[in-house]
């Protein structure tokens, strides 16, 4: 057994190493630009001009939101609307990110008051239906097509945000929402509603009260309990060859085009020595894929549609990755629905082929 001195020395050494790590992490936390490149640039662009994510550097945006809004948006993300929650970064790093974002225009924005704006939500609902629904949706769900990217034809790098999103509602103060309604956002479809629609301050307050009345949508967690197992699998009553043919023959019924059939180890095993008892059937429904890419440009991780067939000692197994479970990775509720459709397609296709 170790003696007390040895334990003390070890503990001291451990403490020194841990402290060193803490200090080095603190030093790194100051580098907002590096953090932005690491965590944000993939979606928002290296200069914040947008891409998969919204153009944060748009002056009419960055100069009209306060630090609290930016900080909370980073921390909480937008559940179900692609933007992940970065709360795990911790306060210092999030502050450094906000500082970096402020450097784009060099302008500091005074904090908006946190007091509730007093308005009539019922009257606000009527105004909302007239002026806001077209862009933000009847229930504040935001515009469709979260899958924005410059890789596809696109008119604007912005989407109407989901005002009913719990992340938005927790980040935006009433005063900030009011300010946006009054001033609009130049360079985006968001106009000033006092100028363009002639609304007065009470109307604006009523609108704010209506937006604040949204329940704050949270994305339900995707688990095995509600989405099924990670792999959809069926035992085939047929031999291997018949199973493969049946799967291929069933594809057209589901608007899937056969791309190719290959051994699982093709390109890995020497030519001619591939395992003939493990086959992948790749297919694609290009129209559905195009729709999916409009919803999320990252769906490539599901591509191409794939069914794997393996010969085991006593049976033939047919498998596909369950897209509904995989959609947990994407934080995109629109995509969740498409993934559920695709899960059903795989299930139906397998059942038809294995009847």
């Amino acid at each position: 057994m170790p003696n007390t001195l040895e334990i003390t020395k070890t503990t001291a050494a451990t403490a020194i190493i841990l402290l060193g790590l803490v200090f080095s992490a603190t030093a790194r936390a100051d580098d907002g630009e590096a953090l932005f490149q690491q965590h944000c640039a993939a979606c928002h662009g290296k200069d914040g001009r947008g891409g998969v994510g919204v153009p944060l550097a748009l002056p009419a945006f960055i100069n009209s939101v306060d630090d609290r809004y930016l900080r909370e948006s980073i921390r909480l993300g937008r559940p179900g609307r692609v933007m992940p929650a970065f709360g795990y970064l911790g306060e210092k790093k999030i502050d450094a990110l906000v500082d970096h974002m402020r450097s784009w225009t060099g302008k500091r924005v005074a904090a908006f008051p946190t007091a509730t704006v007093k308005g009539n939500a019922v009257k606000g609902a009527k105004l909302y239906a007239t002026y806001c629904t077209a862009c933000h949706g009847a229930n504040g769900e935001g515009s469709k097509g979260t899958g924005v990217t410059f890789s596809r034809p696109r008119n604007l790098p912005v989407l109407a945000p989901a005002l009913n999103n719990s992340g938005f509602l927790a980040s935006a103060t009433d005063a900030m929402i009011k300010n946006t309604l009054i001033k609009g956002r130049q360079g985006s479809p968001m106009v000033s509603f006092t100028k363009s629609a002639g609304l007065n301050e009470q109307d604006i307050n009523n609108l704010v009260a209506h937006v604040r009345s949204f329940p704050g949508k949270v994305r339900p967690e995707i688990t095995a309990a509600n989405a099924g197992p990670l792999v959809i699998e069926r035992d085939s009553p047929y031999d291997f060859k018949t199973t493969v043919n049946n799967i291929k023959n069933a594809l057209p019924s589901y608007n899937l085009v056969l791309i190719r059939e290959q051994a699982l180890d093709q390109g890995l095993a020497s030519k001619g020595k591939e395992n003939k008892n493990q086959t992948i059937i790749y297919s694609c429904g290009f129209h559905m894929l195009n729709e999916a890419l409009k919803v999320d440009p990252r769906v490539g991780l599901f591509l191409p549609c794939r069914i794997t067939i393996v010969q085991l000692a006593d049976k033939v197994k047919v498998m596909a990755v369950n897209p509904k479970r995989m959609s947990a990775l994407f934080n995109n509720e629109e995509l969740d629905r498409l993934c559920d459709r695709m899960r059903q397609t795989y299930t139906d296709l397998m059942e038809e082929a294995l009847l």
Binding site: P2, G45, I259, L264, F286, N290, P297, R298
Partner: protein, 154 residues
């Protein structure tokens, strides 16, 4: 330092290093500051540098464009380690739908976006003896994307 003490310190350090990763996003995406053609070269080189063999590049954009849907370059790179894929697919047939591994590469104007996931979703569904392999895949994905991104800096 004695063996048990070294183990204690190593475990603490490992735990500390893994703390942020435990919360980090499981989807990994980087922006390569370079055009698609160069970025594809960087990604494929990084995949090979990490000890994998590329089995195929699926040209998704070709299929989309030929069916009348407009898109810029969009490809999926498949890769694996020959012995590993053969062995795992045989020992764990349920893992076969995830093999070979893949990375998605698509153009975004003058930049390129590269996307992968860290495979941690698999951990809950497969026996613990596979966890080190699954964790290595995740680490390799991060390494490949970071290497490709660094190479791509203009």
């Amino acid at each position: 330092m004695k063996t048990w003490q070294m183990k204690l310190v190593s475990s603490l350090l490992l735990l500390l290093a893994l703390l942020p990763a435990a919360h980090a996003n499981k989807l990994i995406m980087v922006r390569i500051d370079n055009n698609f053609k160069n970025a594809m070269d960087f990604v494929q080189a990084a995949v090979q540098e990490q000890g994998y063999r590329i089995t195929r590049v699926q040209r998704v954009d070709k299929g989309l464009n030929s069916t009348g849907h407009k898109t810029d370059f969009y490809r999926v790179v498949f890769f694996g380690k020959p012995e590993e894929v053969t062995r795992l697919a045989k020992q764990y047939p349920g893992l076969a739908p995830f093999l070979p591994l893949k990375i998605v590469v698509f153009a975004e104007e003058k930049d390129t976006l590269v996307l992968a996931h860290d495979y941690t979703l698999l951990k809950a569904e497969f026996p613990s003896e596979l966890h080190p392999t699954i964790e290595r895949w995740g680490a390799d994905m991060r390494e490949i994307l970071e290497t490709a991104q660094l190479t791509g800096v203009r």
